[in-house]
Structures are given as structure tokens and as C-alpha cells.
Amino acid sequence: METLEQIRDRLLARFPAAKIELVVNPGPAAEHSLLLDAAFAPEIATFLHDDEVLRLDYCSNATGIDWPEKEIIDATTKAKTVQPGYLEAVYHLYSMSRKHGPVILRLRTANRSDQVTLPSFTPVWKSCDFQECEIYDLYGIVFAGHPDLRRLLMWHGFKDHPMRRDYVAPDDYEWEPTPHGSVLDRAKVHYPATAPQPETPKP
């Protein structure tokens, strides 16, 4: 298979106006990915799907990731900058006819609150259908162009997006038979003030 740089260059030649960035994976797996321009993403996806050499006909995995705001302290100037948070959708593409892969695509939203729309890949790869619903449900990314975007796992009427890092789960830890760790901390809220607080068991 072509290297990711070659694919990027080919895409840039085909879509000169698009912004395509190579995201380097520093880990030992070294599976690098392409960060796509949301505006051109559907065309790029169709291109990758139909391209004679690549033929990425199979989208194996589609998933969301939440990257909340991060404070970055510059090592030299000690100046603090806040890196804005965003939501990300990641797609792992393979080719069943050419038997190669993966090519990893990423899409990012502008922020985590109001601009959370990304183009849907379901028209190109139907396998994204349920997975994009799931991302919508758990992360709150709205996929424009998805034929039937609905909450997949939680019920209709549920308001939160539970896989986000700042989601607070309902507190039903009032009765814990054997609390420990974080469960113990959450259970303690429910102990009567006068009751002696249990200690964390010694290892």
C-alpha cells in the first residue's frame, strides 16, 4: 500500500483547496492518521472508496473521542495558554478487495459545545450507520447527512452525552456493601454526618 504521505499528496493534488494534515502517532504502533478538512470530507471519502489503487471499500471502525480543554504551560516562558477542546471522530479504513489497510481518518469539531457538526460517512460506508449513531449518543457529535441519526444506546429523552470526560453520572451510591476506591468516595457522600466514616482498607 502507498504510504500515508503519498496518499496525502495525492489527495492534495486532487483537492487543492482542502486542508489535510498528517497526525503522527508517537507510539510503537506507529499508525499515523490523516486529519481531514470537514468541508471536503465527503468527497475525499468517496475518492478513497473509489480510487483504483486504494479501494478502501471497508470502514471497520468509527469512533468518537473527547478532548477537553487543556492548559498548556510553556516550559520557558511559564505562560499559560488554554488549548481549546474539541470532539474527534476517527475512522479505520481497510480494503477487502486489495487486502490492505488501515488508513486512519480523523475529523475534528470546532469546539465541544455548539459547533459539533461533522459530515457523515454513512452514505459512503454503510457500516458507519450504527457507529455514528453511537457517537452521536455518547459524545454528542451531530453527523450531517446521516439518514437516521438517533440515540442508539441510551433512551430517547436522555439529555447527556455520557462518554464525555466531564459527564457526571447520577449518584446512586447510597448503599454500598463493599465500597473501595472511587466508589468509596462517592458512597461517603451518603453517610450520615454523625456516623463514623469507614477507612480505606489497608492493602
Binding site: L153, M154, W155, H156, G157, F158, K159, D160, P162, Y167, A169, P170, D172, Y173, E174, W175, P177, T178, P179, H180, S182, V183, L184, H190, Y191, P192, A195, P196, Q197, P198, E199, T200, P201
Partner: protein
């Protein structure tokens, strides 16, 4: 119970002790045995009623998660739940006496479990099979996991394990049979389904915006006060 973090055991609804030969007049067991050897069986209606019911329990064919596979295994040749008269799994709650809550009850599923329970006719019993049905088990920290089915419906037998082996389910079943045999048909100790003050149906929680509403049935589930030993 020397571990300070462990709470006192919770008071569960008291089960009347199984009485093998309950109040059949004033005849002693020895006398009855004597009569039996002459071909005369003496029994009480209560005893007969309990004996009959305990040996023909029809469970609801209803599995929730991994524990359900062990429930199926208990019904197959090796463990053979039919030996205990409980092999007729009914697909409809209207025909079942026993609900085996076999697996994780999620918040999305919980209202439906309560609805199934309400649809079952009395007398009915509930076995909470596995850590998940008892307390949420390994998935206790999940946002969508109900932390124990006893928050919404009354449970007769708890079978711990993850998953409990089929033998454990059979043990739970025999315990339930003992409980049924010990139930009285009248008086203050009468079985739950014969007492007017005991509800047979329970409110079905609604899907709320963040959680079930209400998250548990306050008439049924009272978190124990937790004066834990220091």
C-alpha cells in the same frame, strides 16, 4: 465481621423457617411416621399446597446477560433443572411463577423488568442471579446500570457469583422450594401473595432526562443507615 469497612448484614424480609411437618393437629412426627408405615398418609392442606407448588415452578424464559447462558446450561442435560420440576421455561410472563433475573439490569431495561414482574400472576417469586442483578456487580460504576434489582421489585433469593455456576442456580432453586414449602396459608405469617397489605404490582419507573425517575422504589428499597463500625 471484623472488617471495619463491611457493613452489618442487611435485614432481608424474614423467611419463615421451613417446617417439614407443620401443624397437622397434635399428632407428633413419630405418630405420623407410624401411620405412614401402615399406609396412612396424614398431611395438612398447607403442606400439600406448598409441596405441590414448590415442585412445579415454571420460570420465565427471560435472559439478560452472561448469567442467562449459565441459566440455559442449567436447563441442559448435564445439570438438568428438570430434576427439580422447573424445566418448563415459559416465554410469556402470564404463565410463569418465577422470574430469574439473570444478568445486568440496565436502566434502559429496568422499567421493562418491572413491567414483566407486574404481568406475572401471583404467587410469584424472584431470584436475583449473579452479582449484577444483586448489586450491579462488576458494572456497578456504569451510568446506565441499575445497582440491584431489589430497588424496584422484591427479591426472594439472591445467588452470588459472576456468573453463578449452574449448580449454584440449582441450589438457589432448592432454597426457594424450601421457602415455598414453609409458607403458611393463613394467619399473620401467611405467604406474601395471600396478604392483602402486600402489593403485587410495583410502580414502573420512567425514563428521565438524566436517570430513571424515580431511581428506586422508596417503598421497597431503603438504603440501610450506615453507622459502620470503626
Amino acid at each position: 465481621m471484623s472488617d471495619p469497612t463491611r457493613p452489618e448484614p442487611v435485614e432481608r424480609a424474614a423467611t419463615p423457617a421451613p417446617t417439614p411437618f407443620p401443624a397437622a393437629g397434635n399428632i407428633s412426627d413419630a405418630d405420623r411416621e407410624d401411620l405412614r408405615q401402615h399406609g396412612i398418609l396424614l398431611t395438612s392442606l398447607e403442606e400439600l399446597y406448598g409441596w405441590g407448588r414448590s415442585n412445579s415452578i415454571w420460570p420465565l424464559q427471560f435472559g439478560l446477560a452472561c448469567c442467562a447462558i449459565e441459566m440455559i446450561a442449567a436447563a441442559t442435560a448435564r445439570f438438568d433443572i428438570a430434576r427439580f420440576g422447573a424445566e418448563i421455561f415459559r416465554p410469556s410472563p402470564r404463565q410463569a411463577d418465577l422470574m430469574i433475573v439473570s444478568g445486568t439490569v440496565t436502566k434502559k431495561m429496568a422499567p421493562l423488568v418491572v413491567r414483566l414482574w407486574n404481568q406475572m400472576p401471583e404467587p410469584k417469586y424472584c431470584i436475583a442471579m449473579g452479582a449484577c442483578a444483586i448489586s450491579g456487580g462488576p458494572f456497578k460504576q456504569g451510568y446506565n446500570v441499575l445497582k440491584g434489582i431489589d430497588r424496584l421489585i422484591p427479591v426472594d433469593i439472591y445467588i452470588p457469583g459472576c456468573p453463578p455456576r449452574p449448580e449454584a442456580l440449582l441450589h438457589g432453586l432448592t432454597e426457594l422450594q424450601a421457602k415455598i414449602r414453609g409458607e403458611r396459608v393463613s394467619g399473620p405469617q401467611a405467604a406474601r401473595h395471600l396478604r392483602a397489605d402486600q402489593p403485587s404490582e410495583f410502580p414502573i419507573p420512567d425514563y428521565g432526562e438524566h436517570d430513571l425517575e424515580p431511581p428506586s422504589n422508596p417503598a421497597l428499597f431503603k438504603p440501610p443507615v450506615l453507622p459502620r463500625k470503626t
